[in-house]
């Protein structure tokens, strides 16, 4: 029968196809994941996700914790050559800064000043040490030894990597016209307001400075403002500064302090006043700074030193970044006037700086000094300095 034959053949082909299909199915089953397998993979993904989350919160550990320790500071080394000649590597100074912070509540700030002196001795000083309490968003109370908030140079511009010249302006050094530091309490803060305006303030009560007599002991020679933990005259000094920024990167500051100072043996105390103005403005690559400061003590009848004294200084300093190079040019005129002619000085300083980075700077500068003929204050000076802040 032909029909049976063909039927048989068809069945055979069908059987063959069926086994092929079976084979295929088997293969497919092998490659398709079972439900269990899918579950397992899902679990693995969950675990991986958790791990990522843990890693993330471990990363956040750097952001959220209670206590922090931080070491910063700066160092400067330099060379100076005077006219008439005396050249030497004259500066090796290291100022480590330690910060300890507890939450956003307490900050301890401290800075040492370690310096090699002319005779090779190492001079060590506690430049400042305060414990600060952040009372709220607009107020922080600092207690301890702080840099004087009168003006800008002494509190904000003197570190080597910040000061654009290797020296302080005339009158802004130690024991000159600008107060350096003080011991007491200080309240500081600030706030933005209006359209892009800002204001900041600092007020303090402190022990105040000490008057220094000349060799004969009959005249006040200088005023020491290094910050003392004694106050023999028992009169506290009150002072502060208010800064106003009408637009960003323009700041005008006015500062002042008043109190009374005494000399040993006097029957009473004399008035002491400080007055300061400061200005900063930036236009593109040009920075302009200027500052005025005056300290004054009245005379006192019957005192060993009856006469009053005055120390007054100001400077103006434009500087220009020669971008895209790493060079910066700076000029500064400063004038220090005191009742003692041997302290007076007028000075032009010109400098060229190379900025390795924002905080590492090499300075080359020349000072033209005009003071009492034949004294140090009249000698011109060439400086090379390398400063690094970290």
């Amino acid at each position: 029968m032909d029909d049976t034959e063909s039927l048989k053949a068809r069945i055979e082909t069908l059987e063959k196809q069926l086994s092929e299909v079976k084979e295929l199915l088997k293969k497919q089953v092998e490659t398709t994941a079972t439900k269990e397998e899918v579950k397992a993979v899902k679990k693995e993904v969950e675990v991986a996700k958790k791990e990522v989350e843990v890693t993330k919160s471990q990363q956040d550990e750097w952001k959220f914790y209670d206590s922090t320790v931080h070491l910063g500071g700066y160092a400067q080394v330099g060379y100076a050559s005077d006219d008439p000649a005396n050249d030497r590597f004259n500066q090796v100074q290291y100022s480590p800064i330690f910060h300890y912070q507890y939450k956003d509540l307490i900050l301890l700030e401290s800075e040492f000043e370690v310096e090699i002196e002319g005779d090779g001795e190492t001079h060590l000083a506690l430049e400042y040490l305060t414990i600060d309490w952040f009372m709220n968003d607009y107020m922080a109370l600092s207690a301890g030894k702080f840099l004087s908030p009168i003006g800008q140079f002494r509190q904000n511009l003197h570190p080597g990597w910040i000061n654009k010249l290797p020296s302080a302006p005339s009158g802004f050094g130690h024991d000159q016209a600008a107060p350096v530091a003080d011991v007491g309490v200080q309240l500081r803060g600030g706030a933005p307001f209006g359209n892009n305006m800002q204001a900041n303030y600092a007020v303090f009560v402190s022990n105040g400075p000490i008057l220094e007599l000349n060799e004969d002991g009959d005249e006040i020679e200088a005023i020491e403002t290094e910050g003392f933990t004694s106050d023999d005259d028992d009169n506290k000094l009150f002072g502060g500064r208010i800064g106003f920024l009408p637009i960003p990167n323009v700041e005008i500051g006015i500062s002042g302090a008043f109190g009374e100072l005494g000399l040993p043996g006097d029957t009473g105390d004399r008035d002491y006043d400080v007055l300061g103005f400061d200005l900063f403005a930036r236009w593109r690559n040009l920075d302009l700074r200027g500052e005025y400061v005056k300290q004054e003590v009245d005379g006192f009848a019957g005192s060993v030193a009856e006469e009053g004294q005055e120390w007054e200084a100001w400077y103006i300093q434009p500087s220009y970044k020669l971008l895209p190079t790493k060079l910066e040019a700076v000029a500064r005129y400063s004038d220090f006037d005191s009742t003692h002619a041997d302290q007076d000085q007028q000075q032009w300083a010109l400098g060229l700086n190379y900025l390795f980075s924002a905080n590492a700077i090499a300075k080359f500068a020349y000072e033209f000094n005009d003071g009492l003929t034949g004294t140090d204050t009249d000698e011109d000076r060439l400086f090379l300095q390398f400063a690094y802040g970290f």
Binding site: H99, N136, D137, Q155, P248, G256, F258, D273, K321, N359
Partner: protein, 193 residues
């Protein structure tokens, strides 16, 4: 000097009043905000010294530094938190092939101009000429093709010898690829000169 004395005395009185007002002024602290932070940073952090690069310190390093600088600069607590947040989100450079690793931010739906004014203006300026020393004019850079610029904006970028880096997404991690595309077209159309 009497005028000076009187002003000082009045200021002292004002300050005493302020201290008494402490409980009133102590509102709950708001978290830091990147966009406000980049503005406050650009407006304050190069007033006394050269601008320090956000990449200089790790997240934990910036914290005490900003507390210190809040006091120096006379900033409010909010400004300090904003600046800290900005620095902590700008102190890394994402690896160039980071597309899949970074959180895929959802588009903010803001147009290029809004994004520019919130996140980029502090450094690049309203006119695109650069608001800080070290930030280039856009006109000097726009000859680069879009894919290069998009990648440099997304991942951060510092050319050789440049004093400052462009932080990833301008320091704002919430910008999506679409946002960055929008802001780049805004820059090309309006700030290329």
């Amino acid at each position: 000097m009497n005028i000076l004395k009187n002003t000082m005395l009045i200021s002292l009185k004002i300050v005493t009043l302020l201290i008494l007002a402490v409980p009133v002024l102590s509102t709950a602290a708001e978290e830091g905000d990147v966009a406000r932070g980049s503005k406050a940073w650009a407006n304050n952090c190069s007033r006394c010294h050269n601008m320090r690069d956000p990449k200089e310190f790790r997240d934990d390093g910036w914290r005490p530094i900003i507390a210190h600088m809040r006091l120096r600069a006379g900033l409010s607590g909010q400004q300090a938190r904003d600046i800290l947040t900005f620095l902590q989100s700008s102190n890394y450079t994402a690896p160039a092939s980071s597309g899949s690793m970074t959180k895929v931010a959802e588009s903010s739906g803001e147009d290029g101009e809004t994004i520019y004014n919130n996140t980029c203006i502090a450094c690049h300026g309203a006119d695109g000429q650069g608001a800080l020393p070290g930030v280039p004019k856009f006109s000097e850079r726009l000859s680069k093709p879009d894919d290069v610029l998009l990648s440099n904006i997304t991942n951060g970028f510092q050319s050789k010898g440049s004093p400052m880096a462009m932080p990833p997404k301008g320091g704002n991690p919430n910008l999506s690829d679409a946002d960055i595309m929008n802001v780049l077209s805004y820059i090309r159309e309006n700030l290329g000169k």
